[in-house]
C-alpha cells in the first residue's frame, strides 16, 4: 500500500537519503538546508539510520569527510546551500577529479553579497564546471525520487551528483509525497562498490602530482598523465547521458514515476512558444503555459532536469517545433546572460532552429515570480514574433531597472 505523507522538501530529502543507506553523513547547517542536516542527525542518533554522522566545523570539511570516507568504500552524503557551497568549491573539484560518487543536496539559495537567505540558483550554477552531475527538482516528490536515482547514477559512473532544489519554495513547503518502499529501494540500488579501495593491506598514494606527460611507473607500466585523467572524466560525463536516462526509466519501471530523465516536456508537441527553466520556476511555467493556451497561444515547457551533462540533443529535440524560446533562470553569468540561455542557444547551433531567444533573469534572492508574470513575458515574446521582431533580448522580470540604475 502506498505510503503518502505531507512533507517539506527537506523532510522528503532526508527520507530519500535514509532509504539509500549511506554509511557516512557529514554536513554543516546553513539556511535553508539546516532542517535536512538536523533530521539526518536525528535518524543517526535515534538508531533509525546506521551511519556515522561526522560533525564538522564547516562545509569544506564536510565534503572532505565525504571524499575520505568514499575513498575507503563508504556511501556518503552531504548537503549545503549558498555560501556553504561556495566554501566547498575546492573540494568539489577534488571529489570529481578523484571520481568519487558522493551525493549532495544543494538547497538553492542566493549568494552574498549582499546577504540573502532566500532562493535563487546562483550557488549551484556557479559550480557548473566542477565536474559534478547536476540534477534540478521541480517538487518534493521529485526530490526523494531523484536522490535515489542520484546514488545509482553516481555509483555507475563514479561521478559525484548534486541534487538541487529550491530553498523555501520547495525545502520549506509541504506537499504530498509518496515514499518509496525500503525493500524496493534496496532492490533498485545495490550496495556501493568502490572502484579502488585504500586499505592498510595495499598502501597506495592517491592523487599525487601528475606531470604533463604520461609516464612509466617503476614496474614499467605506462600510466595516465593529468590530461588523460581529465579526459576520462569528460568521457564519463558523455556516457552519463545514457546512464541518467536508464536510471530514470528503471526507476519508473519499479516505482511508477517518470521525471523525464534529462529534459521533461509539458504540452510541447504542438507548442510554438516554449518556456524553459530548471526547478520550481519551470514548474510554475507550466501554469503560465496553460494560461496562454486559454488565450489561444500555443505554449509549452521544455524543462531542464539535468544541467550537467547538458542534454544538447534532448533540448534541441524538445524545441523542434518552437518559433520562440523564453528561458527563465534564477542565476546568470555576470557580463553575459543567464547560464541556461547560453547553453540552450549553443544546443540550437547547427540545427535549423534559428528562433529568437528571450533571456529572462527572474526570482533572484527570493523575488516572487507568479505564473501570470511568466505568462506576461511569454505573451510579449509572442507579440514580438507576430510583429516580425525576431531578435534575441534579455530582461529582468519584476526588477526595477530604471535609468538611474544603468551603471
Amino acid at each position: 500500500m502506498a505510503d503518502v505523507r505531507i512533507l517539506t522538501g527537506n523532510e522528503a530529502a532526508a527520507l530519500g537519503v535514509k532509504l539509500c543507506r549511506p554509511n557516512v553523513v557529514a554536513a554543516y547547517p546553513i539556511t535553508p538546508q539546516s532542517q535536512l542536516a538536523e533530521i539526518l542527525s536525528r535518524y543517526v542518533e535515534g538508531g533509525e539510520m546506521r551511519a556515522e554522522y561526522v560533525r564538522v566545523e564547516g562545509e569544506h570539511s564536510a565534503l572532505t569527510v565525504c571524499i575520505s570516507a568514499s575513498t575507503v568504500g563508504a556511501r556518503t552524503f552531504t548537503a549545503t546551500s549558498s555560501n556553504g557551497l561556495l566554501y566547498m568549491h575546492e573540494q568539489l573539484h577534488w571529489a570529481a577529479g578523484s571520481r568519487l560518487p558522493v551525493v549532495m543536496c544543494v538547497v538553492n539559495r542566493g549568494v552574498g553579497a549582499p546577504w540573502s537567505i532566500f532562493n535563487d540558483q546562483q550557488d549551484s550554477l556557479a559550480q557548473r564546471d566542477t565536474g559534478w552531475i547536476q540534477l534540478y527538482c521541480r517538487d518534493n516528490q521529485e526530490i526523494i525520487d531523484t536522490i535515489i536515482q542520484a546514488y545509482w547514477i553516481a555509483e555507475s559512473l563514479y561521478i559525484p551528483v548534486m541534487v538541487c532544489y529550491d530553498g523555501f519554495v520547495l525545502s520549506h513547503t509541504m506537499m504530498p509525497v509518496d515514499i518509496p518502499d525500503a525493500e524496493e529501494v534496496r532492490g533498485f540500488l545495490p550496495p556501493y562498490k568502490a572502484h579502488t579501495l585504500l586499505t592498510p593491506e595495499a598502501p597506495r598514494t592517491i592523487n599525487s602530482v601528475l606531470f604533463p606527460w604520461r609516464r612509466l611507473n617503476p614496474e614499467g607500466v605506462l600510466c595516465d598523465g593529468y590530461m588523460e585523467m581529465r579526459y576520462k572524466l569528460q568521457a564519463a560525463m558523455t556516457r552519463a547521458h545514457g546512464v541518467i536516462r536508464k536510471a530514470n526509466d528503471d526507476f519508473a519501471g519499479v516505482f511508477g514515476r517518470d521525471h523525464g530523465g534529462l529534459v521533461w516536456k509539458y504540452r510541447c508537441e504542438d507548442a510554438e512558444l516554449v518556456f524553459s527553466g530548471m526547478g520550481s520556476i519551470a514548474n510554475e511555467a507550466t501554469v503560465a503555459a496553460d494560461l496562454l493556451r486559454e488565450e489561444g497561444i500555443p505554449a509549452g515547457v521544455a524543462g531542464v532536469r539535468t544541467y550537467r551533462p547538458f542534454p544538447r540533443e534532448e533540448a534541441a529535440e524538445a524545441l523542434r517545433g518552437a518559433k520562440a524560446l523564453v528561458v527563465l533562470q534564477k542565476g546568470l553569468s555576470y557580463g553575459y546572460e543567464g547560464c541556461l540561455t547560453s547553453d540552450l542557444k549553443a544546443a540550437l547551433y547547427g540545427t535549423p532552429l534559428l528562433i529568437p531567444v528571450v533571456d529572462v533573469v527572474a526570482g533572484l534572492g527570493g523575488r516572487d515570480v507568479k505564473a501570470r508574470e511568466i505568462a506576461g513575458a511569454g505573451r510579449d515574446a509572442w507579440k514580438d514574433l507576430q510583429a516580425g521582431k525576431l531578435e534575441n533580448r534579455s530582461l529582468w522580470l519584476n526588477c526595477y531597472t530604471g535609468e538611474d540604475h544603468a551603471g
Binding site: 575513498t71 598514494t205 611507473n217 617503476p218 585523467m229 576520462k232 556516457r239
Partner: protein, 101 residues
C-alpha cells in the same frame, strides 16, 4: 551502459604504489649536490653507528644509514638540508657541473 570499461580501468582515481622512482628520476631536478667529507663525517670517521642526522632529516629518504654514509644521487633533489643539519659540517653543497673541489 559501458560499465565494464570503467571497471577494467585500475586508475579511475590517480593512484600510485609507493615505490622507489614512482615520480621519475628526481635527481634530475638538482642544482647543487651534497658532497660528503668522510674524514669529518662522524659515523664514517669513527666507524660507529652514530649521528646519522642527515639520514633522519632527509625529506626524500635518499640517505643510507651505512658506514660510510651514502646518498642516492639518482633521487637526491639537492635541497641541502643534510648539509645544514650535519654537526661537524662534513657535507658541502657543490653546484652541478663544478668539481667536488
Amino acid at each position: 551502459m559501458d560499465e565494464k570499461s570503467v571497471k577494467r580501468d585500475l586508475n579511475v582515481s590517480a593512484l600510485c604504489v609507493p615505490a622507489k622512482g614512482e615520480a621519475g628520476r628526481t635527481g634530475d631536478w638538482r642544482d647543487f649536490r651534497p658532497v660528503i667529507d668522510h674524514k669529518k663525517c662522524i659515523p664514517s670517521s669513527k666507524n660507529k653507528a652514530a649521528c646519522f642526522l642527515c639520514w633522519l632529516y632527509c625529506p626524500e629518504g635518499v640517505v643510507k644509514m651505512s658506514i660510510p654514509v651514502e646518498i642516492d644521487m639518482d633521487y637526491c633533489k639537492g635541497c641541502g638540508i643534510c648539509a645544514e643539519e650535519c654537526p661537524p659540517n662534513a657535507i658541502r653543497m657543490v653546484r652541478e657541473g663544478e668539481n667536488d673541489g
